[in-house]
């Protein structure tokens, strides 16, 4: 394969994944949860809230947006 095609290999995709921001990592986790729900796992709103909260715990809001 030519070089430009090799960009779309699994390794390239993983490398891109390593560069994700905290927010995108959290979002990726959420996709997994939503996908599990989509495929039949029973997740209610309260559970989803907790799952989301765990996933976004590293997201930094910054001083202005912090809710005290």
């Amino acid at each position: 394969m030519r070089e430009e095609v090799e960009l779309f290999t699994l390794e390239a995709a993983k490398q891109e994944q390593d560069e994700w921001s905290v927010e995108l990592r959290a979002f990726a986790g959420m996709v997994g949860k939503v996908r599990r729900k989509y495929f039949g796992m029973s997740i209610n709103d309260e559970q989803m809230e907790k799952l989301f909260e765990e996933l976004v715990q590293d997201v930094d809001l910054g001083a202005d947006d912090e809710v005290n």
């Binding site: 394969m1 030519r2 430009e4 095609v5 960009l7 779309f8 290999t9 699994l10 995709a13 993983k14 994944q17 921001s21 927010e23 995108l24 990592r25 959290a26 979002f27 990726a28 986790g29 959420m30 996709v31 997994g32 939503v34 996908r35 729900k37 989509y38 495929f39 039949g40 709103d45 989803m48 809230e49 989301f52 909260e53 976004v56 997201v59 809001l61 947006d65 912090e66 809710v67 005290n68």
Partner: protein, 672 residues
């Protein structure tokens, strides 16, 4: 998703139950099914599509007649079903769709550890199948090469929808929707807490007011309780004074004296009456005694006379005459004129009666007089008794009056009235205080109720903490959402370019001289010349473009499906099942397309005619895991001569057509 086997019965040309086992190993991922025109290649492709989605390709025009039919057989087959066994996410599934008239029935089973299928309830079977392989995505994996993409024309091809459907954008978008939905849930909860906070604030005000009012009420209560107590003490003192004053006893004695005097008068009247009666009685008694004595004497005289034989005719006459002469009554009192007249009348009649009669008469009178005397005596005794009693009572009453009068004292009416007025005022004070106390008590109960109901609880603190947590979560989710949206927007165009690059890479392997242009705005691709101008395309070029596109989608989806914790996770990655993909390609390009397709998927099923397969046999054979032949069966007819078609595979000749059947059908023969 990997296909394991396909079984049909009564489906299109396939009357008897037939099964195809698909190859799905990594070194031999290709299953090849040979078939001449009309043998049922498209019918098999549609068997997979119909079984999983209930749909067929546009080219299967006669889709209302999916069930096997032949006049030779005498009509429809007795059964029509397609069963597809496949593996998805390490689970073996069995999808089975049957057709009875126009009524379809779909079953989906999940293989358990024992190798049995646990069937999903009928209402959920298709829903679950759609989750495994969404129907709109199925057409990207199971397609008719000659009628690719459900008849879409070149200009209608859009990366956008394809990318969304196949490459995981759908789940990413669903996740964004889910984030938004959860944000909505959280915001509603925050609003509830805010509302509760407002209510708490209102409650707190009411609570504070109630507490203040209760404090005031307690103070007032003490004041009025003291007032009532003081008034009662005054009342007690005044009552003692009034009692000590003896007014009531004096009043009572006065009343008693009046009553006694009244009784005295009554007794005196009774005494007077009795005395008067007694006096009359004495007089009557005297008269009666005289009359009796007179009668006794007269009778004695008469009796003596009779006993002596003397019967003076008028024995009373001398007495009467004597009395007249004396002018006195027998009692000695002077005769009244009336008495004289009576005696003179008696003198006239005296001696005119028979002595016996007179004696008898005298006896009767004497007896009467004695009776009357007894009567008088009783009456006299009665009067005497009354007089005695009256005199006794009068004496007693007078003694009582005397005693009462001796007890009577005089008092100062004004002082007494002043005491009474003071008592009344104190009673009023006490009663007013009690009214106030009752009112205060009622108010206290009401305010206590408010205080208890509106009492601020520590929920408020809990609510506040939860609200802060939820608001933080909403903001963090918003930040995640924004980052994800930017990522997806960027990745759509990146992915479009990736697909275009893959297609360009494929294109460069062919002798097609066009370039591929992708419009990032519209996400459309097309052949262009070196100046970027859109060019016309041959049928083969268009077919290559379509297959290259499908290959690129499949390749990227396959890579993404292997990424753990990825954002763009494909909803499903199906095997490529393609009917007649090389029809309009020249042999060179057909070989390239085959390589492209094989590289892009873990499992490839090709349905090919002899002419399309033969030029590719050398490149295909090393990857073939399964190989089948569709043999058309014709009903024998003495009047027609049918062409005998054969196919040589790896030096062995197989018939493609048979003529010794009673009815037309297609047999599936396994070669490899």
């Amino acid at each position: 998703m990997k296909l394991i086997s396909l079984t049909t019965r009564g489906w299109r040309r396939f009357l008897d139950e037939s099964t195809i086992d698909f190859s799905h190993t990594s070194d031999k991922p290709v299953t090849l099914i040979h078939g001449e025109n009309g043998a049922g290649k498209t019918a098999l492709l549609n068997a997979i599509l119909w079984c999983t989605t209930g749909r067929t390709t546009p080219r299967l025009k006669n889709e209302t007649n999916l069930r096997y039919y032949s006049t030779e057989l005498g009509g429809l087959s007795d059964e029509c079903y397609v069963t597809l066994i496949f593996e998805h996410e390490d689970i073996v599934w069995c999808a089975r769709r049957t057709l009875d008239g126009k009524k379809e029935d779909f079953q989906l089973g999940k293989q358990n550890a024992a190798g049995d299928y646990e069937w999903v309830s009928s209402g959920l079977a298709q829903k679950e199948m759609n989750l495994i392989l969404p129907p709109r995505m199925a057409t990207y994996f199971f397609f008719d090469g000659e009628g690719f993409n459900q008849g879409q024309t070149h200009s209608e091809r859009s990366f956008g929808e394809s990318v969304k459907n196949i490459l995981g954008f759908e789940f990413a978008r669903q996740t964004l929707d889910e984030i938004e939905r959860i944000q909505g849930v959280l915001n509603r909860e925050i609003n509830k807490i805010n509302k509760r906070a407002q209510e708490n604030s209102k409650d707190a005000k009411e609570y504070d007011n109630a507490v203040q009012q209760l404090e005031k009420i307690d103070v007032s209560f003490k004041i009025f309780a003291t007032k009532a107590k003081e008034a009662q003490a005054e009342i007690d003192v005044l009552q003692v004074e009034i009692d000590a004053y003896g007014h009531d006893a004096i009043q009572q004695r006065e009343t008693d004296i009046r009553v006694a005097q009244e009784q005295l008068r009554e007794k005196e009247i009774a005494l007077s009456g009795a005395q008067e009666g007694l006096r009359g009685m004495v007089r009557s008694y005297a008269a009666l005694a005289f009359s009796l004595d007179l009668a006794k004497k007269g009778r004695e005289i008469l009796k003596n006379k009779r006993q002596s034989g003397q019967y003076p005719a008028k024995f009373q006459r001398p007495l009467i005459r004597e009395l007249l002469d004396l002018g006195e009554c027998i009692c000695g009192s002077p005769l009244s004129e009336n008495q004289r007249k009576i005696l003179e009348q008696k003198l006239d009649v005296a001696g005119t009666e028979l002595e016996a009669d007179r004696i008898a008469s005298a006896d009767r009178k004497a007896t009467l007089n004695l009776d009357q005397f007894s009567e008088f005596q009783r009456e006299h005794d009665g009067y005497k008794k009354t007089i005695d009693e009256s005199l006794g009572a009068i004496k007693t009453i007078k003694a009582e009056i005397s005693r009462l009068e001796s007890e009577q004292t005089s008092f100062n009416e004004n002082e007494f009235n002043a005491l009474k007025e003071a008592l009344k005022q104190q009673k009023d004070k006490r009663d007013n205080a009690h009214v106030e106390l009752a009112s205060l008590k009622t108010n206290r109960t009401a305010y206590e109720s408010i205080r208890n109901r509106r009492k601020p609880t520590n929920l408020s603190a809990g609510d506040e903490a939860r609200r802060n947590r939820l608001e933080t979560l909403v903001k963090k989710l918003e930040k995640v959402k924004t980052a994800a949206e930017q990522y997806l927007d960027k990745t759509v165009s990146v992915t479009a370019n990736q697909i275009a690059s893959l297609m360009r890479h494929d294109l460069r392997r062919t002798d097609i001289s066009h370039h591929i242009h992708v419009d990032i705005e519209t996400l459309k691709f097309a052949y262009v010349d070196k100046n970027g101008k859109e060019v016309g395309e041959s049928t083969g070029e268009e077919l290559f473009l379509n297959l290259s596109f499908a290959s690129a989608l499949s390749k990227i989806a396959a890579i993404r499906s292997k990424i753990e914790n990825g954002i763009l996770i494909p909803g499903a990655v199906g095997p490529l099942v393609i009917d007649a993909p090389f029809g309009d390609l020249d042999p060179t390009n057909a070989r390239i397309v085959y390589e492209v397709l094989k590289e892009s998927t873990d499992q490839l099923v090709l349905l090919l005619s002899r002419s399309h397969w033969q030029p590719l046999d050398d490149v295909m054979r090393p990857s073939l895991g399964s190989e089948y032949l569709l043999v058309r069966q014709h009903a024998q007819s003495a009047d027609e001569e049918l062409e005998l078609k054969e196919i040589e595979i790896e030096g062995k000749v197989y018939p493609l057509v048979s003529h010794d059947f009673d009815y037309p059908t297609t047999l599936i023969e396994r070669i490899k």
